[in-house]
Subunit: 469 residues, 3 copies
């Protein structure tokens, strides 16, 4: 059997740790999945159509998988990744064969855990993937994709997903969410307000976007107050489509709290297209503080995903665009960065700020102390490269003692890959149980407390953190 599907996988191997882990895990497996942040495609749920082919499900949209294959010399053309110039790339089955032939490269990576789990969960496939099994598994998957239990909504049911949030930019027409609103699906599916398209002046289309933002909201975005009003209004619209949260993708955690005259000068510069990189940074920093102010007003939970240098390979970006593996984390300074925002709004009872982290050195040094002090601040789950067994262990090791368990926001899968959702939540739950089992065995927690915490971190923490009732 595939070793990744062993019922005791990821639990500490030595006794009594394994038995305690299993006991804790058994007490939480029935809990539904809350997926309050991610990047699934809302059209899947609005249209509920079949997925096209196995590679479209497991390979081409998954930058975790693509990047590792590229790192060992495979070409994105051969892996079927579309090109901007429209030149042909490999067909899905050829690409699948390459994945299978190189599947040993994923030994030790969470991608391997997720794919193996997904193949079992969705298709009942427990055969290890390799060159010999490639075609057979491809056909097994392809033959099943039209089945009723493999349509997107059936998969949500089978995975016991109670709530799932997608993420849309401020200018998004929310077409699919409108369809879902008509069908009474909003609540289970929710959008999230991610205004990077109108808050990040490093985007080439920023001026055009701001004018579209004005048109969409009817506000005069050439004045600072008008710009904020446009956000205020757009946030309200998003809330009609179930949004409980905003999300902000920023290269670092810098915030600012400028006087009004400087804010207006900055906006004037952006709108005139005369800004430089420092202006762009300052605008993003100020906009985070404005978003905090609006969260104080409307109660939307504010997520900050900071610390990724995007598109670091100019060749890749020119050939195929974004989100294909060349985003690299950078050192991030939360202490100094968040100081202006927190100094202004950090004690507001209505503010809820969730920090997602790519720089693990900040867990124990800054974020746990900050989350253990500020009523508004919680630590998001281990993110991106750290959403893995060892990543989860390092996270819990470094945040719990100073922030406690109850300043954590539970789990997010943050994925574009629908089938990986149950796999990712399962890894989180297993790791939480293994972690708690170690502490129970060391007499640092009672088994009863551990059971409460396991349930909390698997389910309720996410609902509480995101104010989902």
């Amino acid at each position: 059997m595939n070793q990744h599907l062993h019922p005791d996988r990821l639990f500490p191997a030595a006794e009594p740790l394994r038995s305690i882990s299993r006991e804790l895990y058994d007490s939480i497996t029935a809990l539904p999945i809350i997926s309050p942040h991610g990047h699934t495609d809302p059209s899947w749920f609005a249209k509920n159509q079949r997925f096209s082919d196995p590679s479209a499900l497991f390979l081409t949209p998954d930058h975790y998988v693509l990047r590792l294959l590229r790192s060992r010399g495979l070409s994105y053309d051969d892996l079927g990744v579309p090109r901007k110039d429209g030149k042909p790339v490999a067909d899905p089955q050829s690409a699948w064969r390459l994945l299978a032939a190189n599947y040993h490269l994923f030994a030790g990576t969470p991608s391997r855990l997720w794919i193996d789990h997904s193949l079992q969960f969705a298709f009942g496939i427990e055969t290890p993937l390799n060159s010999e099994t490639a075609d057979k598994i491809y056909q097994q998957i392809a033959a099943r994709l039209g089945d009723a239990d493999l349509l997107p909504l059936a998969l949500l049911d089978r995975a016991n997903v109670e709530v799932i949030a997608t993420t849309e930019f401020a200018l998004d027409p929310l077409t699919h969410h409108s369809t879902m609103l008509e069908r009474g699906m909003i609540g289970r599916v929710r959008t999230t307000y991610r205004p990077d398209d109108v808050t990040d002046p490093s985007r080439p289309a920023i001026v055009e976007n701001l004018h579209r933002f004005a048109a969409l909201t009817g506000e005069d975005i050439s004045s600072w107050a008008g710009l904020i009003n446009a956000h205020r209004q757009r946030r309200q619209t998003f809330r009609q489509f179930g949004a409980v949260a905003t999300d902000h993708g920023v290269p670092n955690a810098m915030t600012a709290d400028l006087p009004m005259s400087e804010k207006q000068t900055l906006l004037d510069k952006i709108l005139s297209g005369q800004h430089d990189a420092a202006d762009a940074q300052l605008f993003r920093a100020q906009m985070l503080t404005e978003m905090a102010m609006l969260s104080v007003e409307d109660g939307m939970v504010m997520q900050i995903h900071a610390g990724s240098a995007r598109n670091t390979d100019p060749l890749l970006f020119a050939e195929r665009g974004a989100d294909l593996g060349a985003d690299i984390p950078t050192a991030t300074d939360y202490g100094n960065g968040l100081r202006p925002l927190l100094g202004r709004f950090g004690n507001e009872p209505n503010l809820r700020l969730l920090m997602f982290v790519l720089d693990e050195t900040t867990y124990a040094r800054e974020l746990a102390p900050m989350a253990g002090y500020w009523p508004s601040l919680m630590i998001g789950p281990p993110w991106w490269f750290h959403d893995s067994p060892q990543g989860i262990r390092r996270y819990l090791d470094q945040v719990v003692e100073t922030a406690g368990f109850y300043n954590l926001a539970g789990f997010n899968d943050d994925t574009r890959a629908l089938l990986s959702i149950p796999a990712r939540h399962d890894v989180w739950r297993r790791e939480v149980c293994g972690f708690l089992a170690r502490w129970v065995a060391e007499h640092r927690l009672s088994k009863e407390a551990a059971r409460d915490i396991a349930g909390h971190l698997s389910y309720q923490a996410a609902k509480d953190a995101y104010r989902i009732s």
Copy 2:
């Protein structure tokens, strides 16, 4: 029973690790406590009066506890934390009930270990604290506070404290230490010279303080040589009250080694009140090097507590003052920071420099290599947020291989909470034994060597590091 009081608590759970841990621990439990750095109130020992109430013992002076409650939305008014404006705050028993009702928030934190241990050690209370038990435990404590064995000096005896150091600013009148000198108590209780009040120009009262320093010592502090003479003299006075060490709380580890003319110019600027933040930084940096020079002269051990951004919540500071949870660690650069000081005095046999660390990334990268080279430099124990089971594990994991065991300064409790002293030393000793047991079981240390090292790190290392004979 309370799981935190299990005799095997914190030891690795799997055999043979647990048995070896227990054996090592049994060999060191009788050793006295050396507490060479901390913030207990010297009046406790000089006056030996009863503590007023349970909250004054466990809650209001303990920023570890207060901060975590605040982070979950509890107000400092309701927790009985005094306000600068004198407005009323909750009475001690109401505050205690809030602590008890929210005690589950401390699951997994060292505060929980320390409080549970303290309740057992001082009062024999082994019942878990919660809403149901709150009033009963409050009364049990209150009823005992006047008993002879709960007066401060009796507690030192019961905890087997051989030496305890308090920390006083340069301008402190040392009134209580004078009382203790008359009574022959100096030696067991010692002061520590912490001249931040006259070395940190970011303090609003710095100019006034420097003039008071001149008055106190009879030196002309308007010349650099006079200022250093004032320190030289004041250090001598502190030594009469048992001081073996100085202590320096600085936001970073920068040191400087300026020519005399620049030092005098800098001092002139400070005294005229014309200095900016960069001047203040440079003055602190130069004063560290001056203190090293004085340590070479007088043999006092120099402690540097670097890397905390203090009072990051302006609202809290305005309402209630300092040391209430809003101090946040920052990234610290020891390699470049200490270079001027070490380049000047690092090879002096009489210099002993103890570094306390909030930025754990420096353990393996900089501090262990530096402590493993410079004869003057030792690494202080895991500090503040890292004075915890996982914090101690990370510390030993990262410093021992490069610095060895004998460049470590043993343990400091660094606490304001008298009852937590035995609890904190016990956590350190248990973790040291667990760490050594792992290495014995992996055949990296003989059991005999492990026993020697366990004893050294529990007792002798602190005496040696602080030159306490």
Copy 3:
């Protein structure tokens, strides 16, 4: 018996981890050693003469050992470290006695593991070293040094070293490698091209060195193209002596990609001796990119050893020179630093870039994501202070999940101490097996996959990474 020689040393102590570790280890012990980067003296292999005395073998050339003794107050004079002024220092046997009397200071350090292993491997000595055994062990070693099986080439055979690389500067005459070429030894012994002597303008002799470089190659190094041609030619010469790799010791990971006119201006400044520290930094940064270009041309593997602040103790450097323990790691930024180089050449199939790391915070944050994307980039083994049991554990913990096992370059011993080579490779192999055993026991890897990976990381990975056929 010496506990460091236990057959199960370093393996996890609890079952089933230990048994799995042993089984994996047994499957790889017969594999030869590949030592593709190090600092052994080529004259040892060219001349194959006896080592002079025990201290010359174990103490005076080993800065790991010297530094720790100095850190506890021992003087380099007493340890027999030569002085620039030629004043006498202790004789070898006195120095050896000091090492023995202080050998307990090495408890917990890898130096202790290596020395104990070396004494057993080379001399069959299993008695623990201490004051009592010092003279006897000294004599045992001294008596054997002339034996045939203790000459350098015999030691390579006994240690099953298949390939060993030395490191020479660009201006090195390669005398010993010429001797070895005549004797048909090149291939087993190889040089490495380390052009720091002509790429680092912070060296006082840089201008003189560049002129010598011109004389050696016949190129006009006053033009940028000529300078690059000189490197191109010198690299070819090194390849005749078996070089498969270049090596670059730099204080940080900054690279640059300047236009030709700026490169020429920079070179003019260097050659005129008018450059400042920023020019030196920029020149080093640009030269890394030039070396990458030449690697694209000639296929030589490019090693970057970044992040050490060299010679931080001016007194030591003035008295005795470099490489004696005062080199201290600094924080390093690989993401931003390498961006110019990778943006230019990162997708070239012929480029192979190996990064060696002293700042462990970059493992998971930057390097694993980068190595898991760029086809040209691999992560070197844990380096210098991190070439230790805990260092290897932290390394594997933090790099494998994101970079996989197959973006790692296997092991390097990087040593000046010939006898430590088998000891260091053995520690690596044991730790790899212990790490894999944990994952097998947690059902994250099959035992078959673990066996493949253990063999790969012990042997084939280094051959592949260095393109040694």
